[in-house]
Protein backbone atom coordinates (compact mmCIF):
# COMPACT_ATOMS: atom_id res chain seq x y z
CA UNK A 1 0.00 0.00 0.00
CA UNK A 2 2.75 2.39 0.97
CA UNK A 3 4.56 1.79 -2.32
CA UNK A 4 1.58 3.00 -4.22
CA UNK A 5 1.22 6.30 -2.43
CA UNK A 6 3.70 8.32 -4.45
CA UNK A 7 3.74 7.58 -8.16
CA UNK A 8 7.06 6.17 -9.23
CA UNK A 9 7.72 8.74 -11.90
CA UNK A 10 7.61 11.50 -9.35
CA UNK A 11 10.16 10.03 -6.92
CA UNK A 12 13.28 12.15 -7.04
CA UNK A 13 16.41 10.13 -7.73
CA UNK A 14 19.96 11.00 -6.79
CA UNK A 15 20.85 14.49 -7.97
CA UNK A 16 23.96 16.49 -7.47
CA UNK A 17 25.53 19.84 -8.13
CA UNK A 18 29.20 20.86 -8.29
CA UNK A 19 29.05 22.95 -5.15
CA UNK A 20 27.25 20.43 -2.91
CA UNK A 21 28.21 20.45 0.75
CA UNK A 22 25.91 17.60 1.67
CA UNK A 23 24.52 14.80 -0.43
CA UNK A 24 22.48 11.78 0.64
CA UNK A 25 21.50 8.86 -1.56
CA UNK A 26 19.02 6.04 -1.10
CA UNK A 27 18.52 6.62 2.59
CA UNK A 28 16.24 4.05 4.21
CA UNK A 29 15.05 3.88 7.79
CA UNK A 30 12.43 1.68 9.44
CA UNK A 31 11.09 1.52 12.93
CA UNK A 32 9.87 -2.02 13.33
CA UNK A 33 7.25 -2.61 10.64
CA UNK A 34 6.92 1.08 9.82
CA UNK A 35 9.26 2.41 7.18
CA UNK A 36 9.77 6.09 7.82
CA UNK A 37 12.19 6.71 4.99
CA UNK A 38 11.99 4.46 1.96
CA UNK A 39 14.41 6.02 -0.52
CA UNK A 40 15.50 9.54 0.12
CA UNK A 41 17.84 11.42 -2.19
CA UNK A 42 18.79 14.93 -1.30
CA UNK A 43 21.54 17.41 -1.88
CA UNK A 44 22.42 20.74 -0.34
CA UNK A 45 24.54 23.33 -2.13
CA UNK A 46 26.93 25.67 -0.42
CA UNK A 47 25.23 28.73 1.03
CA UNK A 48 21.81 27.42 0.08
CA UNK A 49 18.64 27.40 2.16
CA UNK A 50 16.66 24.26 1.43
CA UNK A 51 13.08 24.05 2.65
CA UNK A 52 11.79 20.61 3.55
CA UNK A 53 8.04 20.22 3.38
CA UNK A 54 5.82 17.28 4.13
CA UNK A 55 2.91 16.11 6.20
CA UNK A 56 3.21 14.85 9.73
CA UNK A 57 4.70 11.40 9.65
CA UNK A 58 6.17 11.84 6.18
CA UNK A 59 9.67 11.33 7.54
CA UNK A 60 11.03 14.87 7.80
CA UNK A 61 12.17 14.65 11.40
CA UNK A 62 13.62 11.18 10.88
CA UNK A 63 15.74 12.51 8.03
CA UNK A 64 16.94 15.41 10.19
CA UNK A 65 17.81 13.02 13.01
CA UNK A 66 19.87 10.86 10.67
CA UNK A 67 21.71 13.88 9.25
CA UNK A 68 22.41 15.16 12.75
CA UNK A 69 23.90 11.88 13.96
CA UNK A 70 21.13 11.19 16.46
CA UNK A 71 19.94 8.11 14.59
CA UNK A 72 21.54 5.78 12.05
CA UNK A 73 20.05 4.98 8.68
CA UNK A 74 19.37 1.34 7.78
CA UNK A 75 20.76 1.82 4.30
CA UNK A 76 22.07 4.56 2.05
CA UNK A 77 25.11 6.79 1.93
CA UNK A 78 25.88 10.37 2.81
CA UNK A 79 28.68 12.68 1.73
CA UNK A 80 29.75 15.83 3.46
CA UNK A 81 32.03 18.20 1.55
CA UNK A 82 32.98 15.37 -0.76
CA UNK A 83 33.88 12.96 2.02
CA UNK A 84 31.78 9.97 3.10
CA UNK A 85 29.79 11.05 6.12
CA UNK A 86 28.67 8.54 8.77
CA UNK A 87 28.31 10.36 12.10
CA UNK A 88 28.67 8.16 15.15
CA UNK A 89 26.89 10.60 17.44
CA UNK A 90 25.51 14.09 17.72
CA UNK A 91 28.92 15.23 18.91
CA UNK A 92 30.59 13.56 15.96
CA UNK A 93 28.22 15.31 13.56
CA UNK A 94 28.93 18.59 15.30
CA UNK A 95 32.65 17.97 14.95
CA UNK A 96 32.02 17.52 11.21
CA UNK A 97 30.24 20.87 11.13
CA UNK A 98 26.58 19.81 11.20
CA UNK A 99 24.41 21.14 13.99
CA UNK A 100 20.71 20.93 14.63
CA UNK A 101 17.79 22.73 16.18
CA UNK A 102 15.45 19.92 17.16
CA UNK A 103 11.71 20.17 17.07
CA UNK A 104 11.55 19.63 20.85
CA UNK A 105 14.33 22.25 21.17
CA UNK A 106 16.44 20.03 23.47
CA UNK A 107 16.36 22.66 26.19
CA UNK A 108 16.71 21.78 29.87
CA UNK A 109 13.96 23.59 31.79
CA UNK A 110 15.91 23.69 35.04
CA UNK A 111 19.07 25.16 33.58
CA UNK A 112 19.65 28.85 32.97
CA UNK A 113 19.49 30.48 29.57
CA UNK A 114 23.25 30.63 29.22
CA UNK A 115 23.82 27.09 30.51
CA UNK A 116 21.39 25.91 27.84
CA UNK A 117 23.12 27.99 25.17
CA UNK A 118 26.43 26.39 26.08
CA UNK A 119 25.15 22.89 26.82
CA UNK A 120 27.85 20.43 25.81
CA UNK A 121 30.30 23.22 24.90
CA UNK A 122 30.69 24.79 28.29
CA UNK A 123 33.57 27.14 28.85
CA UNK A 124 35.68 26.12 31.81
CA UNK A 125 38.48 27.67 33.80
CA UNK A 126 41.97 26.32 34.23
CA UNK A 127 43.45 24.46 35.97
CA UNK A 128 40.34 23.40 37.91
CA UNK A 129 37.59 22.90 35.34
CA UNK A 130 34.96 25.05 37.00
CA UNK A 131 32.44 26.60 34.65
CA UNK A 132 33.25 30.15 33.55
CA UNK A 133 29.71 31.32 34.08
CA UNK A 134 30.59 34.98 33.67
CA UNK A 135 32.25 34.42 30.32
CA UNK A 136 29.41 32.20 29.14
CA UNK A 137 26.85 34.80 30.19
CA UNK A 138 28.74 37.47 28.29
CA UNK A 139 29.00 35.44 25.13
CA UNK A 140 25.40 34.27 25.47
CA UNK A 141 24.33 37.91 25.61
CA UNK A 142 26.28 38.59 22.42
CA UNK A 143 24.88 35.54 20.65
CA UNK A 144 21.31 36.46 21.56
CA UNK A 145 21.79 40.05 20.48
CA UNK A 146 22.88 38.59 17.17
CA UNK A 147 19.49 36.91 16.85
CA UNK A 148 17.82 40.21 17.70
CA UNK A 149 15.59 38.52 20.25
CA UNK A 150 15.64 40.15 23.62
CA UNK A 151 15.88 37.80 26.59
CA UNK A 152 16.03 40.18 29.56
CA UNK A 153 17.66 37.81 32.02
CA UNK A 154 20.11 35.06 31.19
CA UNK A 155 20.34 33.52 34.65
CA UNK A 156 16.76 32.34 34.97
CA UNK A 157 15.71 28.75 34.21
CA UNK A 158 14.46 28.55 30.61
CA UNK A 159 11.18 27.10 31.89
CA UNK A 160 10.21 30.65 32.79
CA UNK A 161 10.46 31.87 29.19
CA UNK A 162 7.81 32.05 26.49
CA UNK A 163 7.66 29.50 23.68
CA UNK A 164 9.14 31.99 21.23
CA UNK A 165 12.00 32.90 23.52
CA UNK A 166 12.81 29.22 24.04
CA UNK A 167 12.83 28.68 20.29
CA UNK A 168 15.10 31.67 19.87
CA UNK A 169 17.53 30.25 22.42
CA UNK A 170 17.60 26.91 20.63
CA UNK A 171 18.25 28.62 17.29
CA UNK A 172 20.88 30.94 18.77
CA UNK A 173 22.61 27.95 20.35
CA UNK A 174 23.02 26.30 16.97
CA UNK A 175 23.98 29.26 14.83
CA UNK A 176 26.49 30.57 17.33
CA UNK A 177 28.53 27.39 17.00
CA UNK A 178 31.04 26.67 14.26
CA UNK A 179 28.66 24.64 12.15
CA UNK A 180 28.63 25.16 8.40
CA UNK A 181 25.55 23.01 7.84
CA UNK A 182 22.59 23.86 10.01
CA UNK A 183 19.46 21.75 10.30
CA UNK A 184 16.33 23.39 11.63
CA UNK A 185 13.34 21.23 12.51
CA UNK A 186 10.37 23.60 12.45
CA UNK A 187 12.19 26.64 13.78
CA UNK A 188 9.06 28.78 13.55
CA UNK A 189 6.67 26.37 15.24
CA UNK A 190 6.30 28.09 18.62
CA UNK A 191 6.79 31.60 17.33
CA UNK A 192 4.52 34.59 17.22
CA UNK A 193 4.50 36.56 13.95
CA UNK A 194 7.08 39.02 15.22
CA UNK A 195 9.46 36.41 16.61
CA UNK A 196 9.04 34.33 13.46
CA UNK A 197 10.00 37.35 11.38
CA UNK A 198 13.11 37.81 13.49
CA UNK A 199 14.20 34.23 12.87
CA UNK A 200 13.51 34.57 9.13
CA UNK A 201 15.55 37.79 9.07
CA UNK A 202 18.33 35.96 10.80
CA UNK A 203 18.26 33.19 8.22
CA UNK A 204 18.27 35.76 5.43
CA UNK A 205 21.33 37.34 7.01
CA UNK A 206 23.12 33.99 7.29
CA UNK A 207 22.30 33.33 3.67
CA UNK A 208 23.75 36.68 2.64
CA UNK A 209 26.95 35.92 4.53
CA UNK A 210 27.10 32.66 2.57
CA UNK A 211 29.09 30.84 5.22
CA UNK A 212 26.49 28.28 6.23
CA UNK A 213 24.11 26.05 4.33
CA UNK A 214 20.72 25.38 5.84
CA UNK A 215 18.07 22.68 5.70
CA UNK A 216 14.88 23.85 7.30
CA UNK A 217 11.68 21.95 7.95
CA UNK A 218 8.70 24.24 7.50
CA UNK A 219 4.95 23.92 7.42
CA UNK A 220 3.98 27.30 6.14
CA UNK A 221 4.35 27.66 2.33
CA UNK A 222 4.65 31.42 2.65
CA UNK A 223 7.73 30.97 4.82
CA UNK A 224 9.18 28.58 2.24
CA UNK A 225 8.95 31.10 -0.55
CA UNK A 226 10.14 33.85 1.73
CA UNK A 227 13.25 32.13 3.07
CA UNK A 228 14.29 29.23 0.85
CA UNK A 229 16.23 28.91 -2.38
CA UNK A 230 14.92 25.47 -3.10
CA UNK A 231 12.13 23.28 -1.79
CA UNK A 232 11.93 19.52 -1.35
CA UNK A 233 8.72 17.74 -0.57
CA UNK A 234 8.77 14.50 1.42
CA UNK A 235 5.78 12.24 1.01
CA UNK A 236 5.56 8.83 2.51
CA UNK A 237 9.29 8.40 2.96
CA UNK A 238 10.41 9.58 -0.48
CA UNK A 239 11.20 12.96 -2.01
CA UNK A 240 8.42 13.70 -4.46
CA UNK A 241 9.43 17.17 -5.54
CA UNK A 242 12.71 19.05 -5.69
CA UNK A 243 12.66 22.48 -7.31
CA UNK A 244 14.12 25.93 -6.87
CA UNK A 245 11.48 28.11 -5.24
CA UNK A 246 11.57 30.38 -8.29
CA UNK A 247 10.34 27.52 -10.48
CA UNK A 248 7.40 26.43 -8.39
CA UNK A 249 4.48 28.05 -6.65
CA UNK A 250 2.24 27.73 -3.65
CA UNK A 251 -0.39 26.35 -6.02
CA UNK A 252 1.83 23.59 -7.33
CA UNK A 253 2.85 22.52 -3.84
CA UNK A 254 -0.76 22.64 -2.74
CA UNK A 255 -1.91 20.54 -5.68
CA UNK A 256 0.64 17.82 -4.96
CA UNK A 257 -0.28 17.67 -1.31
CA UNK A 258 -4.02 17.67 -1.97
CA UNK A 259 -3.59 14.98 -4.60
CA UNK A 260 -1.66 12.91 -2.10
CA UNK A 261 -4.46 13.35 0.39
CA UNK A 262 -7.08 12.22 -2.15
CA UNK A 263 -5.00 9.23 -3.12
CA UNK A 264 -4.60 8.20 0.48
CA UNK A 265 -8.34 8.50 1.04
CA UNK A 266 -9.08 6.50 -2.05
CA UNK A 267 -6.62 3.87 -0.92
CA UNK A 268 -8.24 3.69 2.48
CA UNK A 269 -11.71 3.35 0.93
CA UNK A 270 -10.81 0.62 -1.49
CA UNK A 271 -8.87 -1.35 1.09
CA UNK A 272 -6.63 -3.90 -0.58
CA UNK A 273 -7.38 -2.50 -4.00
CA UNK A 274 -5.41 0.54 -2.99
CA UNK A 275 -2.58 -0.17 -5.31
CA UNK A 276 -4.77 -0.10 -8.40
CA UNK A 277 -6.68 2.98 -7.27
CA UNK A 278 -3.53 4.86 -6.47
CA UNK A 279 -2.08 4.00 -9.82
CA UNK A 280 -5.06 5.53 -11.59
CA UNK A 281 -5.08 8.62 -9.48
CA UNK A 282 -1.38 9.06 -10.03
CA UNK A 283 -1.85 8.81 -13.74
CA UNK A 284 -4.16 11.80 -13.80
CA UNK A 285 -2.07 14.94 -14.16
CA UNK A 286 -2.44 17.28 -11.20
Amino acid sequence: MADAAVPLERIVGPTTADDDVLRVEHIKKSFGPISALRDVNLHLRKGEVLGLLGDNGAGKSTLIKILSGFQKQDAGTMWLKGQPYAPKSVLDARAHGIDTVYQDLALIDQLTVYNNLFLRRELVKKPIPFLSNREMRKRARAALEETGIDIPRLDVPVARLSGGQRQAIAVARTISGDADVILLDEPLAAMGAKEGALILDLIARLKKEGRVSIIMILHNYVHVFQACDRVSLIQDGVISLDKPTTETSVDELNDIVVEEYRRARLAAQSGNGASAGAGQAGGTPA
Binding site: A106, L119, V124, F130, R141, D155, G164
Partner: protein, 352 residues
Protein backbone atom coordinates in the same frame (compact mmCIF):
# COMPACT_ATOMS: atom_id res chain seq x y z
CA UNK B 1 5.27 38.41 24.53
CA UNK B 2 8.30 39.57 26.41
CA UNK B 3 10.10 40.43 23.25
CA UNK B 4 11.67 43.85 22.92
CA UNK B 5 8.36 45.41 23.79
CA UNK B 6 8.80 48.97 22.69
CA UNK B 7 11.36 48.51 19.93
CA UNK B 8 10.56 49.09 16.32
CA UNK B 9 11.32 46.16 13.96
CA UNK B 10 14.29 43.88 14.36
CA UNK B 11 17.72 45.36 14.23
CA UNK B 12 18.84 47.32 17.28
CA UNK B 13 17.63 45.81 20.55
CA UNK B 14 17.30 48.29 23.41
CA UNK B 15 20.79 48.62 24.82
CA UNK B 16 20.16 50.35 28.12
CA UNK B 17 17.58 48.16 29.82
CA UNK B 18 19.15 44.96 28.53
CA UNK B 19 22.44 45.85 30.15
CA UNK B 20 20.77 46.80 33.41
CA UNK B 21 19.11 43.42 33.53
CA UNK B 22 22.32 41.69 32.72
CA UNK B 23 24.10 43.38 35.57
CA UNK B 24 21.41 42.52 38.05
CA UNK B 25 21.53 38.97 36.71
CA UNK B 26 25.28 38.93 37.15
CA UNK B 27 25.09 39.76 40.84
CA UNK B 28 22.86 36.79 41.49
CA UNK B 29 25.20 33.98 40.56
CA UNK B 30 24.30 30.40 39.83
CA UNK B 31 25.50 29.21 43.20
CA UNK B 32 23.58 31.77 45.18
CA UNK B 33 20.46 31.10 43.20
CA UNK B 34 20.74 27.41 44.02
CA UNK B 35 21.20 28.17 47.67
CA UNK B 36 18.52 30.79 48.21
CA UNK B 37 14.96 29.61 47.98
CA UNK B 38 15.33 25.90 47.93
CA UNK B 39 16.99 25.25 51.26
CA UNK B 40 15.00 27.98 52.96
CA UNK B 41 12.29 25.70 54.26
CA UNK B 42 14.54 23.03 55.72
CA UNK B 43 16.80 25.58 57.41
CA UNK B 44 13.75 27.08 59.11
CA UNK B 45 12.44 23.67 60.18
CA UNK B 46 15.86 22.62 61.49
CA UNK B 47 16.31 25.81 63.48
CA UNK B 48 12.83 25.43 64.96
CA UNK B 49 13.59 21.85 65.99
CA UNK B 50 16.93 22.93 67.46
CA UNK B 51 15.39 25.80 69.47
CA UNK B 52 12.55 23.58 70.63
CA UNK B 53 14.85 20.89 71.99
CA UNK B 54 17.27 23.45 73.44
CA UNK B 55 14.41 25.11 75.31
CA UNK B 56 12.54 22.01 76.40
CA UNK B 57 15.44 19.86 77.61
CA UNK B 58 18.28 21.33 79.60
CA UNK B 59 20.78 18.72 78.45
CA UNK B 60 20.43 19.30 74.69
CA UNK B 61 22.91 22.17 74.47
CA UNK B 62 25.68 20.42 76.42
CA UNK B 63 28.77 19.46 74.48
CA UNK B 64 28.28 15.83 75.37
CA UNK B 65 24.87 15.86 73.80
CA UNK B 66 26.04 17.70 70.70
CA UNK B 67 28.82 15.15 70.32
CA UNK B 68 26.27 12.39 70.63
CA UNK B 69 24.36 14.06 67.81
CA UNK B 70 27.24 13.70 65.36
CA UNK B 71 26.99 10.00 64.55
CA UNK B 72 23.28 10.50 64.05
CA UNK B 73 23.75 12.79 61.09
CA UNK B 74 27.27 12.65 59.61
CA UNK B 75 26.86 9.22 57.95
CA UNK B 76 23.45 10.19 56.57
CA UNK B 77 24.83 13.46 55.23
CA UNK B 78 27.49 11.58 53.22
CA UNK B 79 25.10 8.89 51.99
CA UNK B 80 22.51 11.51 51.05
CA UNK B 81 25.11 13.49 49.09
CA UNK B 82 25.54 10.54 46.74
CA UNK B 83 21.83 9.85 46.65
CA UNK B 84 21.21 13.47 45.63
CA UNK B 85 23.24 13.02 42.43
CA UNK B 86 21.26 9.91 41.52
CA UNK B 87 17.93 11.51 42.42
CA UNK B 88 18.65 14.63 40.36
CA UNK B 89 19.03 12.16 37.48
CA UNK B 90 15.41 11.17 38.23
CA UNK B 91 16.61 7.78 39.45
CA UNK B 92 16.96 6.26 42.90
CA UNK B 93 19.56 4.02 44.48
CA UNK B 94 18.05 1.63 47.01
CA UNK B 95 21.26 -0.33 47.33
CA UNK B 96 23.22 2.22 49.39
CA UNK B 97 22.30 0.45 52.64
CA UNK B 98 23.44 -2.88 51.27
CA UNK B 99 26.70 -1.43 49.93
CA UNK B 100 27.17 0.19 53.34
CA UNK B 101 26.74 -3.25 54.89
CA UNK B 102 28.81 -5.19 52.37
CA UNK B 103 31.92 -3.01 51.93
CA UNK B 104 33.33 -3.27 55.50
CA UNK B 105 33.27 -7.06 55.18
CA UNK B 106 35.29 -6.83 51.97
CA UNK B 107 37.65 -4.53 53.89
CA UNK B 108 37.86 -7.14 56.65
CA UNK B 109 38.51 -9.97 54.17
CA UNK B 110 41.21 -7.99 52.37
CA UNK B 111 43.04 -7.32 55.63
CA UNK B 112 42.54 -10.60 57.44
CA UNK B 113 42.38 -13.15 54.61
CA UNK B 114 44.45 -11.45 51.89
CA UNK B 115 46.86 -9.73 54.27
CA UNK B 116 46.73 -6.24 52.74
CA UNK B 117 47.68 -3.22 54.87
CA UNK B 118 44.78 -1.08 56.08
CA UNK B 119 44.79 1.70 53.50
CA UNK B 120 45.22 -0.49 50.39
CA UNK B 121 42.55 -2.80 51.80
CA UNK B 122 40.20 0.13 52.22
CA UNK B 123 40.90 1.32 48.68
CA UNK B 124 40.29 -2.22 47.44
CA UNK B 125 37.00 -2.42 49.30
CA UNK B 126 35.94 0.98 47.91
CA UNK B 127 36.77 -0.22 44.39
CA UNK B 128 34.45 -3.16 44.98
CA UNK B 129 31.76 -0.70 46.11
CA UNK B 130 32.30 1.32 42.94
CA UNK B 131 31.94 -1.83 40.85
CA UNK B 132 28.54 -2.34 42.44
CA UNK B 133 27.67 1.22 41.43
CA UNK B 134 29.00 0.55 37.93
CA UNK B 135 26.77 -2.50 37.68
CA UNK B 136 23.73 -0.51 38.85
CA UNK B 137 24.51 2.31 36.46
CA UNK B 138 25.04 0.09 33.41
CA UNK B 139 21.90 -1.94 34.05
CA UNK B 140 19.86 1.25 34.39
CA UNK B 141 21.39 3.24 31.53
CA UNK B 142 22.32 0.57 28.97
CA UNK B 143 19.89 -2.27 29.64
CA UNK B 144 17.16 0.18 30.55
CA UNK B 145 15.73 -1.45 33.66
CA UNK B 146 14.28 1.05 36.12
CA UNK B 147 16.66 2.02 38.89
CA UNK B 148 14.09 1.15 41.54
CA UNK B 149 14.02 -2.48 40.41
CA UNK B 150 17.73 -2.74 39.61
CA UNK B 151 18.90 -1.42 42.95
CA UNK B 152 16.25 -3.38 44.83
CA UNK B 153 17.84 -6.47 43.28
CA UNK B 154 21.31 -5.28 44.23
CA UNK B 155 20.07 -4.54 47.75
CA UNK B 156 18.96 -8.10 48.42
CA UNK B 157 21.84 -9.71 46.53
CA UNK B 158 24.43 -7.80 48.53
CA UNK B 159 22.61 -8.26 51.82
CA UNK B 160 22.53 -12.00 51.18
CA UNK B 161 26.14 -12.04 50.07
CA UNK B 162 27.12 -10.22 53.24
CA UNK B 163 25.38 -12.83 55.38
CA UNK B 164 27.02 -15.62 53.40
CA UNK B 165 30.60 -14.36 53.54
CA UNK B 166 30.30 -13.29 57.18
CA UNK B 167 28.50 -16.47 58.25
CA UNK B 168 26.12 -14.01 59.91
CA UNK B 169 28.57 -13.30 62.68
CA UNK B 170 30.11 -9.98 63.58
CA UNK B 171 33.84 -9.43 63.46
CA UNK B 172 36.28 -6.91 64.93
CA UNK B 173 36.94 -4.20 62.37
CA UNK B 174 40.60 -4.23 61.27
CA UNK B 175 42.65 -1.28 62.52
CA UNK B 176 40.55 -0.77 65.60
CA UNK B 177 41.17 -1.81 69.15
CA UNK B 178 39.28 -1.35 72.36
CA UNK B 179 42.35 -0.08 74.16
CA UNK B 180 43.66 2.62 71.87
CA UNK B 181 42.40 4.40 68.73
CA UNK B 182 45.16 4.23 66.10
CA UNK B 183 45.86 6.82 63.39
CA UNK B 184 43.91 4.94 60.73
CA UNK B 185 40.90 4.68 63.02
CA UNK B 186 41.29 8.33 64.10
CA UNK B 187 41.02 9.49 60.51
CA UNK B 188 38.43 7.08 59.19
CA UNK B 189 35.57 7.18 61.67
CA UNK B 190 37.17 6.46 65.04
CA UNK B 191 38.00 10.05 65.96
CA UNK B 192 35.21 11.99 67.65
CA UNK B 193 34.90 14.54 64.85
CA UNK B 194 36.29 12.39 62.05
CA UNK B 195 32.95 11.66 60.41
CA UNK B 196 31.87 15.27 60.86
CA UNK B 197 34.93 16.52 58.99
CA UNK B 198 34.42 13.98 56.24
CA UNK B 199 30.76 14.91 55.96
CA UNK B 200 31.48 18.63 55.72
CA UNK B 201 34.36 18.13 53.30
CA UNK B 202 32.42 15.77 51.04
CA UNK B 203 29.34 18.00 51.08
CA UNK B 204 31.34 21.08 50.10
CA UNK B 205 33.24 19.32 47.33
CA UNK B 206 30.15 17.67 45.88
CA UNK B 207 28.09 20.86 46.06
CA UNK B 208 30.86 22.58 44.09
CA UNK B 209 30.83 19.74 41.59
CA UNK B 210 27.06 20.01 41.28
CA UNK B 211 26.89 23.79 40.90
CA UNK B 212 30.05 24.68 39.06
CA UNK B 213 31.22 21.82 36.87
CA UNK B 214 30.12 20.09 33.70
CA UNK B 215 29.40 16.98 35.74
CA UNK B 216 26.80 18.95 37.69
CA UNK B 217 25.29 20.64 34.64
CA UNK B 218 24.95 17.31 32.84
CA UNK B 219 23.46 15.69 35.93
CA UNK B 220 20.72 18.32 36.01
CA UNK B 221 20.31 18.10 32.23
CA UNK B 222 19.88 14.32 32.21
CA UNK B 223 17.37 14.50 35.05
CA UNK B 224 15.49 17.47 33.65
CA UNK B 225 15.16 16.38 30.02
CA UNK B 226 16.88 13.13 29.13
CA UNK B 227 15.97 13.15 25.43
CA UNK B 228 16.86 16.81 25.08
CA UNK B 229 20.17 16.29 26.82
CA UNK B 230 21.10 13.46 24.47
CA UNK B 231 20.01 15.51 21.44
CA UNK B 232 22.31 18.26 22.65
CA UNK B 233 25.13 15.70 22.74
CA UNK B 234 25.27 14.90 26.45
CA UNK B 235 26.33 11.29 26.92
CA UNK B 236 23.44 10.39 29.20
CA UNK B 237 24.62 6.83 29.87
CA UNK B 238 27.97 8.04 31.12
CA UNK B 239 26.33 10.68 33.30
CA UNK B 240 23.92 8.19 34.85
CA UNK B 241 26.53 5.51 35.44
CA UNK B 242 28.99 7.96 36.93
CA UNK B 243 26.44 9.08 39.49
CA UNK B 244 25.59 5.52 40.52
CA UNK B 245 29.30 4.85 40.97
CA UNK B 246 29.65 7.98 43.12
CA UNK B 247 26.66 6.97 45.23
CA UNK B 248 28.01 3.46 45.84
CA UNK B 249 31.50 4.76 46.59
CA UNK B 250 30.16 7.06 49.30
CA UNK B 251 27.98 4.29 50.72
CA UNK B 252 30.99 1.97 50.94
CA UNK B 253 33.08 4.69 52.55
CA UNK B 254 30.46 5.43 55.20
CA UNK B 255 30.10 1.69 55.80
CA UNK B 256 33.82 1.37 56.56
CA UNK B 257 33.85 4.49 58.75
CA UNK B 258 30.87 3.31 60.77
CA UNK B 259 32.48 -0.11 61.18
CA UNK B 260 35.66 1.57 62.40
CA UNK B 261 33.71 3.83 64.75
CA UNK B 262 31.86 0.89 66.26
CA UNK B 263 35.05 -1.22 66.15
CA UNK B 264 32.90 -4.14 65.08
CA UNK B 265 31.54 -5.02 61.68
CA UNK B 266 28.03 -6.36 62.04
CA UNK B 267 26.03 -8.17 59.35
CA UNK B 268 22.65 -6.57 60.04
CA UNK B 269 20.61 -6.11 56.84
CA UNK B 270 17.61 -4.59 58.61
CA UNK B 271 19.83 -1.97 60.21
CA UNK B 272 21.24 -1.24 56.76
CA UNK B 273 17.73 -0.70 55.42
CA UNK B 274 17.08 1.86 58.13
CA UNK B 275 20.29 3.61 57.02
CA UNK B 276 19.01 3.61 53.44
CA UNK B 277 15.73 5.23 54.32
CA UNK B 278 17.40 7.81 56.55
CA UNK B 279 19.68 8.76 53.68
CA UNK B 280 16.80 9.13 51.24
CA UNK B 281 14.82 11.06 53.88
CA UNK B 282 17.71 13.48 54.34
CA UNK B 283 17.87 14.08 50.59
CA UNK B 284 14.11 14.48 50.26
CA UNK B 285 13.76 16.75 53.28
CA UNK B 286 16.68 18.73 51.89
CA UNK B 287 14.73 19.63 48.78
CA UNK B 288 15.69 16.99 46.23
CA UNK B 289 12.72 16.05 44.11
CA UNK B 290 12.25 12.45 43.04
CA UNK B 291 11.14 13.54 39.58
CA UNK B 292 14.66 14.80 38.91
CA UNK B 293 16.26 17.94 37.64
CA UNK B 294 16.74 19.63 40.98
CA UNK B 295 18.31 19.10 44.36
CA UNK B 296 21.33 20.20 46.35
CA UNK B 297 23.97 18.49 48.44
CA UNK B 298 23.86 21.28 51.02
CA UNK B 299 20.12 20.77 51.35
CA UNK B 300 20.63 17.07 51.98
CA UNK B 301 23.30 17.92 54.55
CA UNK B 302 20.87 20.16 56.43
CA UNK B 303 18.23 17.46 56.06
CA UNK B 304 20.63 15.05 57.76
CA UNK B 305 21.29 17.59 60.52
CA UNK B 306 17.56 17.82 61.04
CA UNK B 307 17.29 14.03 61.34
CA UNK B 308 20.12 14.08 63.88
CA UNK B 309 18.54 16.82 65.97
CA UNK B 310 15.19 15.05 65.92
CA UNK B 311 16.67 11.74 66.98
CA UNK B 312 18.98 13.17 69.65
CA UNK B 313 16.36 15.58 70.96
CA UNK B 314 13.69 12.94 71.30
CA UNK B 315 16.22 10.68 73.02
CA UNK B 316 17.04 13.35 75.56
CA UNK B 317 13.42 14.18 76.18
CA UNK B 318 12.96 10.52 76.97
CA UNK B 319 10.28 10.17 74.31
CA UNK B 320 9.66 6.64 73.13
CA UNK B 321 11.59 5.70 70.00
CA UNK B 322 8.27 5.04 68.31
CA UNK B 323 7.65 8.75 68.13
CA UNK B 324 10.83 9.25 66.14
CA UNK B 325 9.35 7.62 63.05
CA UNK B 326 6.08 9.45 63.55
CA UNK B 327 7.81 12.84 63.58
CA UNK B 328 10.16 11.83 60.80
CA UNK B 329 7.17 10.94 58.64
CA UNK B 330 5.47 14.25 59.35
CA UNK B 331 8.70 16.10 58.59
CA UNK B 332 9.04 14.38 55.21
CA UNK B 333 5.45 15.16 54.29
CA UNK B 334 5.71 18.81 55.31
CA UNK B 335 9.08 19.24 53.62
CA UNK B 336 7.83 17.65 50.40
CA UNK B 337 4.74 19.83 50.29
CA UNK B 338 6.86 22.89 50.86
CA UNK B 339 9.50 21.88 48.32
CA UNK B 340 6.91 21.27 45.64
CA UNK B 341 5.47 24.70 46.30
CA UNK B 342 8.92 26.31 46.22
CA UNK B 343 9.74 24.52 42.97
CA UNK B 344 6.56 25.82 41.39
CA UNK B 345 7.37 29.38 42.41
CA UNK B 346 10.98 29.04 41.28
CA UNK B 347 10.36 27.57 37.87
CA UNK B 348 7.30 29.71 37.20
CA UNK B 349 3.68 28.74 37.41
CA UNK B 350 3.32 27.98 33.71
CA UNK B 351 5.29 24.78 33.70
CA UNK B 352 6.11 21.69 35.73
Amino acid sequence: MAVADSTPPAEAPPQGPAKGWARRGGALSLGQRFLTLREGSIVVITVIAFVYFAASTNRFLTSGSLKALLPYFAPYAILAAGEVFVMINAEIDLSVGAVYLFTPFIFYKLVVNVGLPLVPAMIGALIVAMLVGLFNGLVVSVVGISSFVTTLGTLFTLSGLTLIISHATQVTTPGTSVVKVGTFAQIFGGGTYSELFWAIGIAIVLQLVLSFTRWGIYTVAVGGNRLGASEAGVRTKVVLTRNFVLCALLAGFVGIMEAVRAATTTPDPSGANVILFQAISAAVIGGTLLQGGSGTVIGAFIGAVFLGILQDGLNLKGVSANYYYFYLGLAILIAMAFNTYVQRVRIGSGRG
